[in-house]
């Protein structure tokens, strides 16, 4: 109790210095948390993947379509349960800055394969019944203030013309990992339009196939079987698990992610140096006091406890405020970057990492002064006053 009282009084002896150090810690810990959350948000698509889904796309590039009839052949591969497909629609909603993912999907099979997108039966029926209907995620609807029955006009970029869609459903993710920023429309509508303006060959093209498999343990073998089907054809395929597919997408931003990670740790290293400097200054100023305590019979371990305790107390308060501040910061950040991240949540792991970083800063900052002060010569220390 006495030790705690002494720690508390010592910690706030130089209020301005302590508060400034704490402000530094708050900034560092919240910045660390925000940067970690950004990295995690990047990987959110990977975390949300299912191990029973494979993605089949052109082996050349995502930009090369596959024939529609591939779907039936893939379905017949042993171990395949179901197949659906989607085309990237592209388009612009009012302004290019209003970016969000838009996919033309085979609605009946798509929702069967993505149970994580929860849509009421009534809304699903309304969507299936309306060829110009669309389903949007909850967050996307919130972002633009859309509600059921609203008409959304998109200017085509891949598919020319102006496309009007009526919102027939707003889906909810089954958990925080699920992407709630998608807009889904009927593939058939796009296909019919292409058939009308171009040809059947163009109309019957698919961007990617999503393949549901029965046994995740056979994912690799099934992928190889699917790709073998189309070997030496005009449109060879590349099949991989949904996770590998998403990781491939993330890897395109690997350099940026590495930089963000590095910055997050540099921020902690900087505050560690600042805090170590504060603690060293503090210890030096109190040299005579530590010498007095030792003269009175207090052990070097007591002096060590005083310094570590004070450093940890400052780090704990700064860390706690920093962690608390990460949540409103994340909300504000997400508002500014809504089109960029599908899922943006401060995870439990991030909070633990922040707490660990604050603890580490507190411990490391006190090592040198505590070691130094525990070894001070009493006579020299007392002379510090005189």
């Amino acid at each position: 109790m006495f030790l705690f009282k002494l720690l508390l009084k010592n910690a706030f002896r130089h209020r301005l210095r302590t508060i400034l150090t704490m402000v530094g810690l708050v900034v560092a810990i919240s910045a660390f948390g925000l940067l970690r959350t950004i990295v995690e948000a990047w990987y959110a698509g990977v975390d949300a993947t299912s191990n029973t889904r494979l993605i089949t796309r052109s082996s050349v590039s995502m930009g090369y379509p596959l024939p529609l009839y591939y779907g039936e052949r893939i379905k017949r591969v042993e171990g395949v349960d179901n197949v659906t497909w989607a085309n990237w629609f592209g388009g612009i909603y009012i302004d290019r800055r209003n970016f969000f993912a838009r996919f033309a999907v085979d609605a009946p099979s798509y929702f069967a394969m993505y149970p994580e997108y929860r849509l009421s039966d009534a809304e699903k029926e309304a969507f299936l019944a309306d060829r110009q209907g669309a389903v949007v995620g909850r967050r996307l609807a919130d972002r633009f203030g859309w509600k059921l029955g609203d008409t959304i006009a998109l200017s085509g970029t891949i598919y020319p013309g102006t496309w009007n869609f009526t919102i027939r459903g707003i889906y909810h993710g089954q958990d925080a990992k699920a992407d709630e920023t998608l807009m889904l429309m009927h593939w058939k509508l796009i296909s019919e339009s292409l058939r009308k303006h171009f040809s059947s060959a163009v109309a019957n093209q698919v961007g990617v196939y999503m393949v549901n498999i029965k046994d995740p343990g056979r994912a690799s073998a099934i992928s190889a079987d699917i790709d073998a089907l189309f070997k030496n054809s005009a449109a060879e395929t590349r099949t991989e698990t949904e996770k590998a597919f998403q990781l491939g997408m993330v890897s395109m931003s690997q350099a940026i992610l590495m930089a963000i990670r590095a910055v997050s740790f540099v921020v902690i290293l900087i505050i560690m140096a600042v805090m170590a400097n504060t603690m060293t200054m503090t210890a030096r100023e109190r040299l005579a006091e530590y010498a007095t305590l030792k003269a009175l019979g207090f052990s070097p371990a007591f002096v060590v406890k005083l310094l570590f305790g004070e450093s940890l107390m400052i780090a704990a308060i700064g860390g706690a405020v920093g962690i608390a501040l990460t949540f409103p910061l994340s909300v504000a950040f997400l508002k500014q970057t809504e089109s960029l991240f599908k899922v943006f949540e401060v995870s439990q792991q991030t909070i633990l990492l922040q707490a660990g970083a604050a603890l580490c800063v507190g411990l490391v900052a006190a090592i040198w002064p505590a070691w130094k002060m525990s070894r001070i010569d009493i006579v020299q220390g007392l002379r510090h006053v005189a």
Partner: protein, 239 residues
Amino acid sequence: MSAHASDALIRIDHLTKSYTRGGQRIEVLRDINLEVRRAEFVSLMGPSGSGKSTLLNLIAGIDQPSSGTIAIDGINIATLDESELADWRAANVGFIFQFYNLMPVLTAFENVELPLLLTNLSRKQRKAHVEATLEMVRLADRMDHYPNELSGGQQQRVAIARALVTDPTLIVADEPTGDLDRATGEEVLLLMDELHRDLGKTIVMVTHDPKAAARAGRMIHLEKGVLVDDNAGALVDAH
């Protein structure tokens, strides 16, 4: 040297202390032999650099001799390690410093309580001890005050209470009036005199001030690390 060897609380034999600075060996104390009886009030005097503070530090167990022995109450403290010395100091020595060396973040009460934290006394017992000691130094009404709310003389009285609260065998004082004006210094000396006279405390005090030294029953002079004069037995009454 004292003739009452059997009564000796402090017995110093062939004590030397030297430092090596800049590759040069400096002898601070040379072959010191000294005995101090129980309940004796001794002042150590001498010019700057004479080694009086070093001798006090060695007696207090906060410094180690280069050679020789220092036996306090029969214990040769020169052979104790750092941890044993800390325990020994906590139990046997009360310190009074020139600049009081109080913890600025602690009240007068808490400062006096500090040495008691190293004992097994309960909180209630500690409180009783601290209050009684502060009463003794006539600061009972200031126990909740912080050092910066007290005058120099009051701070030194708190320091005296801190030195006294564990009822140590020996009290060492390094220039206890050095930072005080004459009148306040006189009050502090009076208080130390009381400790010696009424409580029978053994006090070893370093001072530059001959008037302060005269308070002690025995004055020891050091020069260049050598004990040059000791009026052992000849009581000097400054009153």
